[in-house]
Point group: C2
Chain length 369, copies 2
């Protein structure tokens, strides 16, 4: 299942692609980062479902695209109506919070159902490719719009100053097909020569900041510093954060934002310290069917993620260590909801809008593929 | 240096004591918890200083008492004026934020300087013992006063309900000679049969919640659940936290509270969700010479604490693993400041007072030993 590392990725590199033999899809196993760069080949529906559930792939946009390719993998075995519906149902059940998963599966099902079974497999490959391309284009547009926020702050600071951006979890290129959502403006600013520095929240309990965001920023050469999730408020009080940009797994009709657990705490601190708090939101992450944040289902994950930690020993081996007393119980809510009132703006592929019901209702719906 | 485990401690157990041969002081090596219970014998000034610096002992009250015993250890070798002053200077320099360290050393120096060198060693032992006893009495009083806050909430909830208390870091018996500050009301409530449950913040990067608070609550049988530092705001939004009690390393004249990094974020969430946020404060932690929180020095610790994690492998060995890419830099501020406006009350040994300049000015100063 594991091939050799490919050439070093950069900010334009993809996190998912069809295999050279055109019968499988390949992903980066994100559970092994930052210690090992391993490409995993997904050949079946079950392997795609497992990749989503086990978080080999994670991040709302990437989950959606992986699921779309999962439908294609399923149809290679059986392209009948029942198999199509079963694949969609199975894939949708792997993670509850990110709406992109259901959105991508609905896109696929909507287009594939009317086709003859014999035509579905090739169509599914093309549709999944289109979703992947759309993700890249969306994130590139988020980068262009978000760049203006960074450039405006840079222009206000003394010449030669660095713009300090705090981010939580990984809404980077590893969470997407490429570019990232929250990172797209950062990569764009870095590419254009603006001096940026990123405070990377560790993001317990799965450490997506320490393991993924630090890794991908390091690969591109964007200056960054890892901090404990506890530290962001203090840094904001000290004037060391110019803006916050995070991603999102689902935005409700009223502008409430579900994102990785702990986002709410950073939004509160940003509000208290007068630091602008922005959410990078592809419109596929907007869910007009959910009235407010309280209606967004919040995934509870295994407490083992909290009670153990995996890393590399001095001898170079990967090891998992238990960090609490053996009888200690844990609780592991994976997401929280940031009320719209704490969000300065939503950075979408169509531009920057306030986190209000009216602004969200006025956005174009994501392009139907 | 390491003796066998003593009998299991309980909430009345001590975290520091003079050795049976009356020439040394013994502590629990808190850097080995929760995996190993090891008692370390401190025989010299340098060993006491190292225990404080290396965080074998930590927690504002325990640091103060350890430093007091450190003066006694120094005087056993040389009880002259220069040695006394050198010991005080060395010990005070080990940790910058907790004011108890300086307060305890000033108590010692003030009483020992007038004595003949030949009388100082015995006096230092007695004075350090007095400081230790005073800590126990102070915390017992904090427990009595804080119990009323828990009992009031219990009385408002339906019969049979559990009172859910969130705490950050370890302001427990391990942070003190005994009882703890933030935990004293919890232990008292538990002892009196009130149904309490504690949400234990992991407290990255040193994991004092996962390693110490979970350990000591477990030893006493207080129901508790470990959570990521990111989770407390979400739990408050969900109505799953009735009150927050934390400790403090220094309270400024205006009521601003320095405590473990991340405390500010929990105070913001508590304020936003209408959850009462209380700070357990022995009056030895009040520093009237510091006008406000911005003037409290905040210790920066080695980033290695953030970049690695130590725990127990499945094979039972202790191992330290690197959790970020090897080239990732980190920043590790150990404390933050919670503005007085976010603090519902201070629980002192003299009663519960608001976090205001007037209330703090009206408190008796800690008893001069």
């Amino acid at each position: 299942m594991i091939s050799r590392p490919s050439s070093p990725p950069d900010h334009a590199a993809r996190s998912i692609w069809r295999s050279a033999d055109a019968v499988a899809v390949e992903i980066i196993d994100q559970t092994r980062l930052p210690h090992e760069y391993a490409v995993v080949r997904l050949r079946t529906l079950d392997e795609a479902a497992l990749a989503i559930r086990s978080m080999q792939v994670r991040g709302a946009p990437l989950i959606g695209v992986t699921a779309a390719y999962g439908v294609w993998l399923a149809l290679q075995t059986d392209s009948g109506d029942a198999a199509l519906e079963a694949a969609v149902t199975l894939l949708a059940a792997q993670r509850p919070t990110a709406v992109n998963l259901r959105w991508a599966l609905e896109c696929m099902a909507h287009r594939l159902r009317p086709l003859a079974p014999s035509a579905r497999t090739a169509a599914a490959a093309a549709l999944a490719d289109q979703l992947a391309e759309a993700d890249l284009a969306t994130n590139a547009a988020i980068g262009r719009h978000g760049l203006s926020l960074i450039a405006t702050i840079a222009a206000r600071k003394p010449a030669g100053s660095v713009v300090n951006i705090l981010t939580h979890c990984n809404a980077g290129r590893l969470a997407c097909v490429g570019w990232g959502t929250a990172t797209a403006p950062i990569y764009r600013a870095h590419a254009e020569g603006l001096a940026v520095h990123v405070w990377v929240d560790e993001t317990r309990p799965r450490n997506q900041g320490a393991a993924l965001t630090a890794w991908e920023l390091g690969r591109v050469g964007v200056p960054h510093t890892l901090i404990a999730d506890n530290a962001g408020g203090h840094l904001m009080q000290q004037g060391l954060v110019d803006l916050v940009i995070v991603g999102t797994d689902r935005v409700a009709a009223n502008g409430d934002v579900a994102n990785k657990i702990g986002t709410y705490l950073k939004a509160l601190a940003a509000h208290d310290c007068g630091v602008p708090f922005h959410v990078a939101m592809p419109t596929s992450t907007f869910d007009p069917t959910v009235a407010d944040g309280a209606s967004i289902p919040i995934e509870q994950r295994d407490a083992g993620e909290l009670l153990t930690m995996t890393g590399r020993t001095a001898a170079g081996h990967l090891a998992t260590v238990q960090i609490a007393p053996p009888t200690t119980p844990g609780r592991n809510d994976a997401f929280d909801v940031t009320p719209a009132r704490l969000v300065r703006s939503l950075i979408t592929e169509h531009g920057i809008v306030p986190a209000t019901r009216a602004a969200l209702a006025g956005l174009p719906r994501p392009q139907d593929i």
